[in-house]
Symmetry: C2
Subunit: 492 residues, 2 copies
């Protein structure tokens, strides 16, 4: 109960609420290393569920997992001119390979004799080392497409960090594909964006806008960056996954050519795509409330918790007898159930704790329920309680879980859609953006206008959205003609 | 066929055979970074199968997964006196956090202004950072036992590397547990050794000797190191997994205390345990032959390959009709099947390739088989071929896979047991050790004798084996009294 009382309310301070919740729900905490977090077992269990599902979806598209080195030779980063600008700057640099005991024999110092000839960079992303490898794997059109994914850690030396949203080290997956034609590579990049959107909506219950980034916001080295953008409860955008069409940039930088069916040499076409532990941040900030996490059943480490209320041992035994078949049924149907009959914590403490942890369904059964053949059911998303017959309760809970999953997406979508507005007046925009939300505005396509908006409002162009009927118009800032509306928002 | 012909024979050069096989079977290759390998999709698929099974087994013991930072502050390594000696020496050191464009604007250099106040070490193992974290997680006996595991990459700057067996970066899991009593921690360390031995024997089909290391060979910072030792086909030992009882060393170094049930403060008791991608090396070197890999069905990425031999399209269609129900049956029973009907490779090439890749069962079906209602079955472990009725073939293959799994362990065990000898004469030992094998010898328990054996024979004490009836005797080197026989062998 203590934890719950201390949780900051969203309305008071949304940012503090988030930070509090990450710690109090046992998801993650700061480590002794600046900007790096420890992902605690409960937070990691969510990541494992995400990984399992995504991994299946990637493999269904033909991707295979592999593993490439953590450290990248410094010179590799400079091979692709734009890439180096984006990634070589803030990164961890390995310069030595040995420590030695210090003169006072109470510690260790870097051994100056063990200096590397060429410094190594802890990967901020792996295009360079992977394309250097692909050079040896690709000779002919028969070797294409080549589609590898790796689950790994990466490092970007961030100045301001927040758990899951922006940390110096984070976990992610990065897919790197090679294709014989431009069209096929573009299709792959778009297909993977759809996989991410499918995952966000159908597993995370997080509605996303799919679109393409402006040149300014593109991945360093990409010709096109596709993105899924989610809206957090404070109306800010969270870029939740990106898929890049890299053209032949990396193939040219690493000299990766293939013999096509006409026996002519061509450079290979590339994509890369990634999502990270940032998705956990998106999950938290989309659904959770002042009582704690609200997790969608598809990704909840514990889907159903059962708390018995039994004073005397005879009662407990009867409760066990009634509930064990329910647990067995749920587990054999593939659901994750926790029966919390620990007697060193009071039911009230347990209730608050599982609410804080976002367990989708809670069942409570006591002596009176036994007499009546009933059980109390609470759903976390709405906090609604009802009393149901214990007969058939497993089936009821299974239906309820499906309903919660569906309801969470519907609710998040309705909430988000109410905060998406068309806007054609810059003064009005400057007022409204303070309240958050996504703004569909005409843009003249210039970096100047984009920079002006960012400077004056801290908002950025999130993407040119797909699936939105576009008509030409007038840029709200410059008054110049615009081909399409873009989504502008403040973001994480 | 080309690949197979080029594979060195084991009898010619066992070491070269291994290196060749790793590359030719598409398991791994050297990367551009010294001592670091790229794990290719086929090799990684074996690692994924290992991970899935081990992860289940760990969770069944109550361990949970978590993630701790890659980088460790240099000073942490010096906190535990023995640990620093073992691990602080050869490791990758991060000294800077930024690069900048060089003066000639054609590359990047380390920015001297971005020097870290305290250097960070790429984790060689994570006891220090984890125990620094556990300090905040453990206050009372109620917080114990705490059992976390992490799947991650680690780095040790090795001078001489070999794929899977010894690489500068490798993938592993490291379990770190905290307990209220010495007994419980010792039991945990022993239990995890049993889990590793169970996995090695029942999934990898690799028989192992379980035992405890001598003080010299112990993990740096441990009171006891338990080990599983496998014998490779050249008679050398491969340490395949270790589990350490760490006493209170790390608890004291990081000041991790708890209030016991009597409300008194005590230091926590610790274990750690790990296996790595080295297991893939053990798998290869235990079973494979001059034709390539031999993989146990439990860990084979492809368990059954089906090659149709059909000249004309009508034949191909009939073959498809006959074989698709077999594939469906196998897949729905959870088996991994590949139907290789690619028409740009000849059957002979495919046969050699799947033999090289160690696929346990190969089915071949052609026009004549169709007429006779038969199919050809080959088992990779013995290379035996037989013709079977196609009726009931799926069930037959399932039984065969189980038989192959069993047979591989029996064969490996028989082979190994024939190379385990008692030896009481040092001169005889010096001769025999040249042929490889495990030698059960009396040892006086001194580091001097151990060092002498190592220097004169390159063999080391692998462990004091469990489950071997021990009687006192005389050390074969020093002539001093010995309490027990140890296993001495050359090793990887």
């Amino acid at each position: 109960m203590a934890e719950l009382k201390d949780l900051t309310k969203r309305a008071e301070n949304y940012s503090q609420w988030y930070n509090d919740l990450v710690v109090k729900a046992d998801l993650a905490e700061q480590s002794a290393v600046r900007g790096c977090m420890v992902i605690k077992p409960y937070g990691y269990a969510i990541w494992e569920k995400m990984q399992q599902q995504l991994d299946k979806m990637f493999k269904a598209t033909g991707a295979q997992n592999a593993y490439f080195p953590l450290l990248i030779p410094k010179s590799f980063l400079s091979r692709e001119a734009e890439h180096v600008e984006g990634f070589a700057k803030e990164c961890a640099v390995v310069t030595h390979y040995r420590l030695k005991t210090n003169d006072t024999h109470d510690g260790v110092v870097v051994d100056p004799e063990a200096k590397l000839e060429e410094e190594l960079i802890v990967r901020p992303t792996s295009e360079t080392i992977i394309w250097n490898t692909y050079k040896n794997w690709i000779q002919s059109w028969r070797d294409l497409p080549l589609m590898c994914n790796q689950w790994c850690n990466v490092m970007r030396w961030e100045m301001r960090t927040r758990p899951f949203l922006r940390t110096s080290e984070f976990l992610w997956q990065e897919g790197h594909t090679a294709h014989a034609t431009r069209e096929e590579a573009e299709q792959e990049a778009q297909q993977m964006l759809k996989v991410y959107a499918d995952f966000a909506e159908n597993y995370m219950a997080v509605p996303v806008v799919q679109g393409v980034k402006s040149e300014t916001e593109r991945f360093a080295g990409a010709l096109d960056t596709y993105t899924i953008e989610a809206m957090m409860q404070d109306g800010k955008a969270l870029q939740s996954g990106t898929s890049h069409f890299l053209g032949q940039n990396f193939a040219k930088a690493f000299d990766v050519k293939f013999l096509n069916k006409e026996n002519k040499e061509e450079y290979v076409w590339a994509t890369s795509w990634g999502v990270s532990t940032r998705l956990i941040g998106a999950l938290i900030m989309t659904h959770s409330d002042d009582n704690g996490l609200v997790l969608p059943p598809a990704l909840a480490p514990i889907q159903v918790v059962i708390v018995p209320i039994a004073g005397k041992p005879e009662q407990k035994q009867k409760v066990d007898e009634a509930i064990i078949p329910v647990i067995s049924k749920l587990q054999s149907d593939g659901y994750s159930v926790k029966y919390d009959d620990a007697d060193n914590k009071r039911p009230g403490f347990k209730f608050a704790d599982y609410e804080l942890k976002g367990v989708p369904v809670r069942l409570v059964i006591g002596a009176r329920d036994l007499e009546n053949g009933t059980i109390e059911v609470m759903r976390r998303d709405t906090l609604e309680k009802e009393t149901r017959p214990i007969e058939g309760i497993a089936e009821y809970v299974e239906t309820l879980l499906a309903d919660i999953q569906k309801n969470m997406l519907v609710k998040a979508k309705a909430w988000r859609d109410a905060k998406i507005h068309e806007c054609d007046n810059y003064e009005e925009f400057k007022e409204k953006i303070k309240e958050g939300g996504f703004f569909l505005c005409h843009w003249d396509g210039t970096a100047e206008t984009e920079a002006k908006i960012k400077e004056e409002t801290q908002a950025t162009i999130r993407c040119v959205p797909f699936g939105y009927e576009q008509t030409p118009g007038t840029d709200m800032v410059s008054g110049k003609p615009s081909k399409a509306r873009v989504i502008i928002a403040r973001s994480y």
